[in-house]
């Protein structure tokens, strides 16, 4: 198929980026927690969020 050869590189790149985004390959760690919904929260995220609470609670205990 000759059409693939004539596709501009930048279009290929943007399509690749699109596919990557859709597959969630990009790790967006800066996502505010308030915006992530329940189903979107992975257990790993949940786990580190619980850790965060532990640390903050422990700090208050030392005061």
């Amino acid at each position: 198929n000759s059409s693939t050869l004539t596709t501009p590189q930048n279009q290929v790149d943007s399509l690749m980026q699109e596919v990557a985004d859709e597959a969630g390959l990009e790790l967006n760690l800066d996502l505010p927690s308030a915006q992530s919904n329940t189903l979107g929260t992975s257990t790993a995220t949940a786990s580190s969020e619980q850790d965060e609470l532990s640390q903050r609670l422990a700090k208050l205990r030392q005061m």
Binding site: A46, Q50, L53, A58, L60
Partner: protein, 128 residues
């Protein structure tokens, strides 16, 4: 998305999933409430009565999350759920301790008023 290390332990799909989703839901609510409580509590001038309210709500969500049975599921997502449950237990205990301290402190502030505070809150549990 959660490809395990082996394809043999494939029991994490099926009737167990709603439990895991429910656990996450309660985690999420608890996290929101306790985060709010901590934010208020960490400020010196924070309204401690508001922090108390948020701690209570957070603890209630943790209780619901911990009450879910995740003991018997096979596979990585269940193991993670069990670890999450342990962390929720830790935080429930810590949040309760903090709540008791705040309630005690607050009851000290309103000593001039007539308030019915059980001795257990004023003095704390007697050492045994």
């Amino acid at each position: 998305a959660e490809a395990g290390m082996t394809s043999n332990t494939r029991k994490n799909v099926g009737p167990g999933e709603p439990v895991l989703a429910t656990q996450k839901h309660h985690h999420r609510k608890a996290f929101e409430y306790i985060s709010k409580a901590l934010k208020i509590d960490e400020e010196d001038a924070g309204r401690k009565d508001q922090a108390i309210e948020m701690y209570k709500r957070g603890i209630a969500e943790l209780e619901k999350g911990i009450a879910l049975d995740v003991a018997n599921g096979q596979g990585e997502s269940w193991e993670r759920a069990r670890r999450l449950q342990e962390k929720m237990m830790t935080n429930m205990v810590m949040a309760q301790e903090r709540l008791e301290i705040l309630e005690r402190a607050l009851s000290g502030l309103v000593v001039g008023e007539t308030v019915d505070i059980p001795d257990i809150i004023l003095r704390g549990p007697s050492p045994s």
